[in-house]
Structure formats: C-alpha cells, structure tokens
Symmetry: C2
Subunit: 422 residues, 2 copies
C-alpha cells in the first residue's frame, strides 16, 4: 500500500518534521520506505496510491490513561476532589458493569467514540468485572484500535457493590489472563491495581507475581495531596508512593513497562525511582484541573529522560481528544512557570506533540512516527474549513493542534489497516 | 411569536433554573410572558408555535472581549508573553487592515464564525483604521448579532505601520462616531483606547471627553506583570493601572459602562476602584493561559459585587466558543484555590454560566435570561448525539457545558430574530 500526503510527525530529537507530498510505502502494516515526489521509483508509479492530496497526515495519537466505564458520565460531577469524587460518582457507576447488558450498551458508545477519535491506541482501565472486561476487549479488538486493557483489582476501601475479596481478585485475574491468551490480535491485557488505597498488600504482592516478566502494569500515582497522605498512612514501610508499589513487587522488570497516571506530587526522590524503573508517566492535564489536583512537573520528567505520554483520564477529564490534552499540557506548564518554578521552561509545541505521539508510542513498539520500520498508524486530517487560504504546512499544523475540534478525520489507519471511514 | 422547549437559564440569585416544556411568548423581540404546559392560555393554543420539542434552549452567550482582526491568526504564535506577542504577531497582522480588500475577506470569515457560534452578542476591538472598522460594523449589522465595536486608538509604542498621530487619532474617532450615527440598528460604537502603553496622556484625555456621558469604553487592564510595571513607569502620577485610566478621565460616568479585559493583577485597591466606577471585568481565561499571564482573582471580583463576563480574547485565546471559556474559568479558579489562595472557593457551574450569560448581559440592557421584559436571545441546542439516553435536563445541560464542541445549534435568535438557520 502507498499513501500520499503532507506528513507531519516528530523526529527522535523532538522537533516537528514536515514532509510535503511524500509517499509512505507500507508492507504488512509497517512503513518500509518513505519517498518524496522526486524520489518515487518508476516501479512504484503504477501501484495504486491512496492520494490524500493536500491533506495533513499525522501519526495516530496515543491515550495513555483512561477509564472506559466512566465514559458514560464524562462532563458530570466536576465539583469534588479525587477521593470524594471516586466515592460519589465513580464507584457507583463502575458497579453497574456487573450487569453485562448494561456494559454492552455503555461500552459500545465508548468504543464507537474512541474509534472516531484522533487516537489509534490507548491504555485502558475497565472495571473489576471479568466478563464485562472481556466484552470490552472483544469490542475494541473489533474496532481495529490497538489497546492495553486492564481488569481492575480492588479489595479494600470501596463500596459494597464494587469490591473483591483478596482471593477472588487474584483468582479472577489469573482466569482473565487465561481467557485473553491467543484471543486477540490487537488487544493486550495489562495488570491493573486501581491504586494503593484500593489494594491490600497481599493483593499487590500477588499481582506483582502474576505480572512476572510478561505483563505491563498500570496504576495511579501521587495525584492528590490527600491521597498521597493516605498512602503514607497505609504504607508506613515505604519511602513514598511509588516506593510503596516498588516494595510490593509491582515494578519488577518485565517485557512490558509500567505506566503511572498523574504524578502531580512526585518529588525528586520519586522522580529518581520513576526513572530507575523505566516507568511511563501518563500526564492528564484536564483531569488534574477538573479534580483540582494540581500541576504535574512535566518539565522535570522530560529533563530526567522519563517517558511522558498524555491521558484523557475519562471521566475526570471530559474530552477524548488527546490534542485538547496536549494544549492543556502546554497551558499548565505555563502556569507552572508562572506560579511554581520560574526556572521551569514551559512546554513547546513540538514537545506537546511528542508526548501525544512518539514518546508514548514507544510503549507499543515502533509506533508514533513516520520512519522506516514503524507501524503505519496514520490520521488523515480534514482541516479545510479552518485553514482555507493558509499554505504553510507548519501553520496549518499548529492551528490544527489548537483547534482540532473544528476539524475532522478523513481517514484513520492503525498498523496500515483503515479502521473507520468518514 | 411563541417558542417552546426546555428552558435553562440563570436566576437573579445566580442559580441554574430549569423549566421543562415551557413556552416563551415574544413580542417585538421582548419576552412578554413565560408559560408552563399547563398554564398556556387557550387563546394562544391556536397561535403558531416554534416547537423545539425536547431541545435545550439557553440564553445567547455574551463575548465581552475579542479582537476581530486577530481572528485570522488564532491558534498561532502561542509561544510568547503579552508585549512580545503584540509586537511579533499582532501588530503586523492588524496593520493589514489598512487594505480594505484584505479587511473585507478577513472580516467576512470572522463574522461568519461569530454568527455560527454560541454567542449572540459581543464587545469587539477592530483596528485603528476607520474604513475597515465601519466595514466590520456593517457586516456585523447584517449578521443580526448585537455588538459594541471599537475603532482602536493608538498613538505611541507601536510599529510604523500601525500608529496614528495624536491629532489624527482624535479626529478620526470623531469622524467615525459621526458616521455611526443613525447607521445601525444592532451595532454600537464604543470608545477603544488599546491600553495605556499605546495611548499618550493627551489622547487619553481627549477620548475621555469624546466619551462624555454617551458612549461606553473598553480597554485592557493589569494583564501581565511586565505590562503593569511599564504602566507604572508611564504614569508616575497614578496610583495603579486603573487609576491611570481614571486620572485621564476615561472612567467618568456615562450611560454606557466601562469594560476592562483581564484584570489578572488587580489588587485590592484596584478592585475598590473597579467597583466604585462600575467597571465590567472581561475575564479571558484561555488568553491568560496562552500568554502565560496568570490567573485572575475572579472570586474576589464576584465577592465584591463586580460584574464579570467572559471573553474569548481572540487571538490570545483561540476558541470563539464562550462555553470553553466558562469551563476554563472553572478550571483556573480551582488552580487559584490550589496554588494562590486556599480561602478562594472555586467557581461553581452556575457561576460560570452566569458570567457567560446574565451578568454580562446587563451591559446590553435586559439580556441574558428568560424573564418577562428581557430581550429574546435564544440558543436552541442539538445535544442529541452527546446526551442520548439521558433524561435529566440538569445533567444534559452540565454535559453540554463541558462538551459543547461536540454539540451544535439548531437555531439562534437575537432579540427574537432568527439569525442563522442550521
């Protein structure tokens, strides 16, 4: 397959790269070659070319953190901080996913919306219910998106309707992983303790063992001051929140890395450990605003070589559009500079684009940029209405980034497969 | 005319008011009566009713501060603070409006976009060019929107292409106001010194005189620390930025009040003066983020009874959608609470709605709510896709507020006149 258009992606060095009227040659879902108009060999000129003319083509965006069952109530209940918000809005909603019929309806809406969004890949929390988690994974598989999905574990500090015993949590995780084996082409399970307050030490240790060197692990970290305090009380053995995960064996080396959402209150010691354990940070700026959590020190993470991605964190964030998160990330970094640390340079556009594409893409392999050997995740953008009369591709891209809700997709490919037709 | 739907507006007390299946009776653009289904008198049942069924109907939104000529470059150049941003991006763009043909094309796009937006009214900066300002006013008049529009004054600290002599600035303002007389039904001129750094003392004093007790006045106030410092140097006679306007006679009592954009760095003394002079504050949260300006003390303004509205501040803000500004205002107030003042309660949804509708509506008369005697500005919302399966009107409204970019307009009325058909 050959796809032609104006390619906009991020280099390894983190700059925005624009290649006008270039041709992506794709074999088995992988970019095998990239040619400019002059370079295209005669032998390929007779091949069928999907010519997107003057359209921008971007790598698919990566949503590093979101809760599928919360999609049903996004945009509601933004008047609380994390712990109250969980008890009041979130846990009651997630309890409904015990009912597979309810899950069928609600997850369908979520999967449809994610499929139509600018994201090609996501790392997803389901609920603690095995059946509806499998259902969600089946639906995502069908959509053509590539996702990690986690059956949530929680054996303490929840409501009566949304809790497991330690034993049943462990057993059902083993059972769930077994069901997943050989079932999916695009979807992978990921170990998902909700967060330290929801999981007893015994459960955490068992999950670390189940993870072994095979599975990835996702959870929440240092999101809210009260939560951080609570973890300190719950884990007197530990030297900080991430160290609590570490001491329970959750961060042991595995083929698939760890993702921690938020990291708003990660101090220098925690940043050290994030780096040492090669943990990906899922920065969720909209969520951090909506739940009054605060501003994460993204500049410090980047300066320390920690891999940062963006998360919509549906439904503490309300928008599935990762470019909105990128714009919010730039905005929060400016406020961080203004109010917290005048030595902390705010994020540049290229950095915001990198944490939406190339950097979190590496969690999935060679993903998130247009280079030989990379998987061909492509967004073909319709920015005609917004960018009428603007020729400069860099300007079109910059405006698209800020105003992507006023644009739309012409086509979306995941690993070379067209997933949705618009 | 009778319009039926689910009315959602703000009470005088600032609460969200929901009236399901109500009828607005409108005479000469004014709401003369509101009936519930049971109350509708038999005599009206045979009248033609514009029945919007289950749709939400909201008052039109008010954009208290935006720059029409900057619409062309919104979403670009977000990498600077105010003063550099003005010199690098804004002044060169505004200089182009000397060319009436350029203005014709660029203003058409702006007016079309504003007409299609959720705003029914706006307070607008044009440029210093009289001809293209008249052109903009003519186009806005045609659109049916109700706006205040200002020919900008600036006689110092600008570029060679975008500057007036003091004399020509005064003369052209008088001439412009003369042209405006009896020319418009919907559009009113408003005195518009750009900001203190752009206007000499002599010019400011003349504009105060021209304003007299007849015209409104709009300008910028205390947006950025470096700007505030600069004003202090420029006006050693004055006890603060707003006092500089005051000492130059710009805030004298008039039939139409003053609007000041931003007020990020207004201290208690300035807040006193804002209150004393009945100045409206145009809060522009997105702009204040994008230009790294900071967070305005909105809670203090509201506590002091100062009238606050929202401004898109195109193009320091990038979105014309005032509901996006409302959501950002809530977000910034949460960060203000978190980082600046733990006694400053964050904005509630109802307050964010009030500063988008009813409070700034009072600048235009009886505008911004559904009550007898109010002008009938109405937005008929299509939230079907977003709110499928949600019955509760309050929840539909709350989700619409956060996710209005995923919804659309079915119809838009300004003073009872349908302005755009969708």
């Amino acid at each position: 397959m050959i796809v032609k258009g104006n390619l906009v992606d991020c280099t390894k060095e983190g700059t925005i790269r624009i290649r006008e009227n270039n041709f992506l040659v794709i074999e088995d879902g992988i970019i095998s070659k990239i040619y400019s108009q002059d370079e295209l060999p005669d032998s390929l000129k007779n091949e069928e070319i999907e010519d997107y003319g003057d359209s921008l083509i971007l790598p698919g965006l990566i949503d590093m953190h979101l809760h599928a069952p919360q999609f049903a109530f996004r945009g509601l209940g933004m008047d609380m901080e994390l712990l109250d918000w969980l008890n009041t809005y979130t846990f009651p909603e997630e309890a409904k996913y015990k009912d597979i019929e309810y899950a069928k309806k609600a997850y369908k809406k979520f999967v449809d919306a994610l499929a139509k969004s600018y994201s090609t890949r996501a790392i997803v929390f389901a609920t603690l219910h095995t059946d509806s988690t499998i259902l969600l994974m089946d639906m995502l598989e069908e959509s053509g998106l590539k996702c990690f999905v986690g059956k949530v574990n929680m054996d303490r500090n929840s409501t009566d309707e949304l809790i497991e015993t330690t034993e049943s949590s462990i057993d059902s995780t083993v059972k769930w992983l077994d069901i997943c084996k050989d079932r999916y082409k695009n979807i992978k399970p990921i170990i998902t303790p909700r967060f330290i307050p929801s999981c007893s030490d015994e459960l955490m240790k068992a999950l670390g063992n189940i993870r072994g060197d095979t599975y990835g692990l996702q959870s929440h970290l240092s999101e809210n001051p009260k939560e951080v305090e609570w973890v300190k009380e719950l884990c007197p053995d530990s030297d900080g929140y991430l160290d609590a995960y570490n001491k329970r064996g959750n961060l042991n080396k595995s083929k698939v890395d760890t993702v921690m959402a938020h990291c708003v209150y990660s101090d220098d010691k925690e940043i050290e450990l994030l780096k040492e354990k090669n943990v990906y940070v899922a920065h969720c700026p909209q969520s951090n605003i909506c739940l009054s959590s605060g501003i994460a020190p993204i500049r410090k993470f980047l300066d320390n070589g920690i891999k940062v991605g963006l998360g919509s964190d549906i439904a503490a964030g309300y928008s599935l559009n990762i470019l909105n998160q990128a714009v919010e990330a730039i905005g929060l970094s400016k406020l961080y500079w203004r109010y917290i640390d005048k030595n902390s340079k705010s994020l540049e556009l290229a950095e915001a684009f990198a944490i939406a594409t190339r950097i979190p893409g590496s969690y999935f392999g060679k993903v998130g940029a247009f280079e030989e050997g990379f998987e061909a995740d492509m967004l073909v953008i319709n920015d005609e209405e917004l960018n009428k009369d603007i020729d400069d591709i860099r300007k079109r891209f910059e405006r698209f980034l800020y105003l992507s809700d006023e644009c739309s997709l012409r086509a979306k490919y995941v690993s070379g497969q067209k997933t949705v037709t618009f």
